[in-house]
């Protein structure tokens, strides 16, 4: 570890040598208290609030179904299905068949959905829609309450389907 740090330091100073000087003005100001930007797979960054698939169903049908289908299986934008297809010549990658973490679904819906009307859902609504998509995939009961605590406990079928490439 120490040699790694030394190595990084020498690389950094090499870059600065190419720059000519290293006189940094230190202009950063204190970030807003409680600033958050991402819901990660360890549950960090998940906001308070709860939602059930039951309440998520109505939100899904009005805000999501047009692109993803009422059953979540609309071709090209499927969120549901594809179990057992990853080793076939026509793999179908969906939340149920491919996504390794349920937190990813929350983070993505909160930041990027509904497409064209992004960031308009409240946190409880995002929990609810997330719950409903997981329910459509058979991964959550209709009345199960999703929260920061329960979301990380959802077992995704393809959790062990990824191999991290060596970082070089």
């Amino acid at each position: 570890m120490r040699s790694l740090v030394l190595c990084l330091l020498s690389l950094a100073s090499l870059a600065e040598a190419q720059m000519g000087h290293d006189l940094r003005p230190a202009l950063g100001i204190d970030a807003p208290e409680g600033y958050e930007s991402v819901a990660a797979s360890d549950g960090s960054g998940l906001p308070p609030g709860t939602g059930t698939a039951e309440t998520g169903r109505m939100i899904y049908l009005t805000q999501c179904a047009a692109c993803h289908g009422a059953d979540g299986k609309l071709r090209g934008n499927a969120l549901v299905g594809g179990a057992g297809t990853l080793t076939t010549s026509s793999a179908l990658k969906t939340v149920g068949s491919y996504w390794p973490y349920a937190t990813t679904l929350f983070d993505y819906v909160k930041r990027a959905m509904p497409y064209g009307n992004e960031k308009t859902l409240s946190d409880p609504d995002v929990y609810a829609v997330t719950a409903y998509v997981l329910h459509l995939n058979g991964l959550l009961a209709l009345d199960a309450e999703l929260s920061a605590q329960t979301l990380v406990e959802v077992e995704m079928p393809n959790r062990d389907g990824f191999v991290q490439s060596p970082l070089r």
Binding site: G28, V38, T104, D107, A112, Y115
Partner: protein, 423 residues
Amino acid sequence: MHQLEDEPHGDDTAGNGLLSRRHWLQLGAGTAAAAVMTPLLAQESIDQEPWRSGSGAPPSVYGDRPSMASLQREQISVHPMGRQAGASSTPLQLLNGTITPNGLHFERHHSGIPEIDPVSHKLTVHGLVARPLTFDYDALLRYPMQSRVLFLECSGNSYRNTLAGALDETAGALHGLISSAEWTGVPLHFLLDEAGVDASAQWVIAEGADAAGMNRSVPLSLALNDAMIALYQNGEPLRRSQGFPMRLLVPGCEGNLSVKWLRSLKLLDQPAQTREETSKYTDLKLDGKAAQFSLRMQAKSVITSPSGKMRLGRQGVYEISGLAWSGNGSIRRVEVSADGGRSWAEAMLQSEPGPMRAVRFRIPWRWQGQPAVLQSRAVDSAGNVQPTRASALANVAPGFSYHFNGIQSWQVNANGSVRNVYA
């Protein structure tokens, strides 16, 4: 396409008309002589061209019409909801040298190009740091900056050549999600140092301020050693399509990592597992497992002239020219074949190779109307050799190839037409 008028003498260095670099030097002398004798100049006294009399257009405030109407990016829609979530590719076959003009740099947006007010835009560094900090655009402009010429390649570049049938398309339409520019900005570690990175931090989660809120986890080692907050591209402030007012730039890595419209950097002890690094940009293999965080773009090259949908004119000597690049370092050499990979000759690297930099390669070729299959093969400073198409796809689930770097084959037919083929 540049056709050299003079015919070289001596033996070919590889099959089907490829000529040696020694010939290249001889041709250099011959070209100058040939240029003096072009038939167009002989007609000058007969008809005077209209642009040689009367004033031309005045200077412009910004830009100018492209000199050729065809000098355009090709738009690729990747989302059924519309073109906002799409891409446009650099017309590689119409450009020369190594730098991509800003107006032709490839684009890939996940929910369109935002109109960001640089005065209210903020960049926040938080998470595993001693002091979470916020920077605005004016503040960043006061930090020491560096300029680096770098290639940027979309992870999905060349995807179309992974499909079952070879499409009859141009080099730009097939491979144009690679561009090069001189990027100027602040080394990322300046901001991370200022916030005080905790010893437990291993990853930096970068987030954009666009509607998609594009976010990716970047290994801390890359963030500290090599990444920058880019503020200028080829000398001018970033274009909105390239992340104005600020973007992350992680040299040599898949373009998706260089988050545009950068608004936050959160330090974590593990990747966040965002949608773009799990559901997308992962490489599904035949055994059903997917490779994740294949960040460095691998050794690759493409012949841009002659290339798809071009047509050779008169028989004689042509210059084969193209681009080569590698995210593992610099390009060591490029080899070219005119017989579908049976024999190879080393091309001249005209621009100076450098880390994460695309180089221009050139080699003369004599075409006497014979059918040919032109290929190029890059070798990088780490010793990686660009694989054949078949080899690059050997362990990839059909239809799911990001990071594809297989050798491109251009078939030259007896009538001079050039077409994309799988060979």
